[in-house]
Symmetry: C2
Subunit: 321 residues, 2 copies
């Protein structure tokens, strides 16, 4: 639940007067996102999201995030789109924070994704990768393989409180990844956080993607691997190959996998599981006392990691060569 | 910030299918209200507020609250209006909670109310009192004079941590109120919590009243007294008689004060200050460790209480007989 910065009626009216979107009618803080303050803004011309970027976001990254959304929307991908003010700028300043007005995207996230949702996700993810191909700004992936050792070191002394021998297991896993991580896969802009709560549907129809604040440049197939982890396990952590096949075939119907991508998929999926395991472990061990937001249990991703360790080829995910 | 109960996409679609408001397009938790979970609901027919009533609300009171909103809206008062489902019911059940869909009211609350806002508030408050006159359901004021002694007793042992001698001062004040509280004033439905955040404006025009969850039957002038406290003090706690005069004259332009109301106003304002002082004191002394919501400082209302103790007649509030 996120409204960290209060916006007064007077400040808001002044800020919105710099845009060509009509008189302010209403503003409601919305309980969404953990990095920023988000408001639903109603004006005479429609509904918008007003985002105030809080301390956890590097202002230097905002041209990448906002530019990417405009770039994708201009290429027909359905996603929130930053609104330019009268000076043509999408980034402004409100209540002492960098701030942007972004179009409102209809849709709901699906708590229990089905095969059809996974198929639609695969298709849209590939469209996203193609649409991002000619985006000019670059942003390295700060949470890729080289970050995993320092990230693990922050949690190492307490890792065994989660499971006996976990620390040692993760050290070995990080070493394995450092030794084997593929270097030369087709790369481009990836979303890097395409969990179900960032994909909107109206009925079974995918209505758009949101939350591009982890987007970066990395291997495209790594984005697919993140989705396999986030969408294709059942609540009991059993891997659902039917959903995975739907996701992968949906993707392939728009953008084919290279042989190197096919060969690397199990390793990428295993690495993606490790990446979310490490950040969740870090957050889990640092819950502030009395915090209202419960961090996500890292053990979920430990189970997923172990599953991928047992996978031999992408065929085990339902993908035929 | 309030979203206590999560509503899944599937539950929501089922719930909304009982209403004649079209397909669900979006749902966003909103950070507003402290008693209930509130969502912004977008459907093919428009925008609504979906409220889930949490434990702090007595379900037995919901017919009063929802019925009152319908009653007031039917009499032309601008306020959120519960939507009836296909069975004609405004109260349903969602995610294990009593739930209602309520029309979306445009407007923003004013952080720094000016004279014109106070005048508009006075007028609308009187219209509210007239519109509520023939509302059939009754609800006693659980926070009136007879509740103040038991409420104070809950905080008495720690009251002096807020200010030396505060406990004793409040005991004397409660005794004074019990001995002098007026019994026979014109009464009816009062809002009982008409602070600036419950009154919406678009520009200087009052667009409506919200949050009727403290509404009850009590002396109408007591509602005016609550507003004098909530709207007519400056940040340094100086009483602004210009704003008070605007509020009272706005009220009187729609509904005149009786002589008894005129005579009682200082006592009612003093009692209203005591009532908010006591609830704030109670909440202040019971902040859960690590709580994200800071309770309001009770000392603000101590200063207001002392001001009203010094008032001799309603003329000191700017009201001429």
């Amino acid at each position: 639940m996120a409204v960290y910065t209060d916006v007064s009626d007077e400040e808001l009216v002044t800020f919105v007067s710099g845009y060509d979107i009509g008189e302010v009618l209403a503003l409601k803080g919305i309980a969404e996102g953990v990095e920023n303050s988000n408001y639903l803004l109603h004006t005479r011309t429609g509904h918008y999201i007003l985002t105030l970027y809080e301390k956890r976001v590097d202002p230097g990254d905002l041209p990448f995030f906002l530019g990417l959304m405009r770039h994708l929307a201009a290429r027909g991908l359905s996603c929130p789109q930053p609104v330019a003010n009268r000076d043509g700028e999408t980034l402004g300043q409100l209540a002492g924070r960098p701030a942007a007005i972004i179009s409102f995207l209809d849709g709901m996230w699906v708590r229990r994704p089905q095969r059809a949702h996974c198929a639609a996700l695969g298709t849209t993810l590939a469209e996203f990768h193609l649409a991002g191909a000619d985006f000019a700004i670059r942003r390295p992936n700060a949470l890729s393989v080289e970050s995993w050792r320092p990230l693990l070191e922050l949690s190492l002394d307490q890792a065994d409180t989660i499971g006996e021998g976990l620390g040692e297991e993760l050290v070995r896993e990080v070493e394995y990844m450092e030794a084997n991580w593929p270097g030369e896969l087709p790369s481009g802009v990836i979303h890097a956080d395409l969990f179900p709560d960032n994909v909107f549907f109206i009925g079974e129809k995918l209505s758009g993607l949101i939350d591009f604040y982890f987007a970066c440049n990395d291997a495209l197939a790594y984005d697919v691997a993140i989705c396999l982890n986030a969408w294709c396990f059942e609540p009991d952590m059993a891997f659902n190959v039917t959903k995975a096949r739907a996701l992968l075939n949906g993707y392939r119907s728009v953008r084919g996998f290279t042989q190197a991508e096919f060969d690397s998929l199990p390793l990428l999926a295993r690495g993606a599981a490790l990446r979310f395991l490490l950040t969740r472990l870090h957050d889990w061990l640092r819950v502030p006392e009395g915090a209202l937001v419960t961090p996500k249990d890292p053990r979920e991703y430990l189970k997923k990691l172990r599953f991928h360790q047992s996978v031999e080829t992408a065929a085990d995910y339902g993908l035929t060569a």
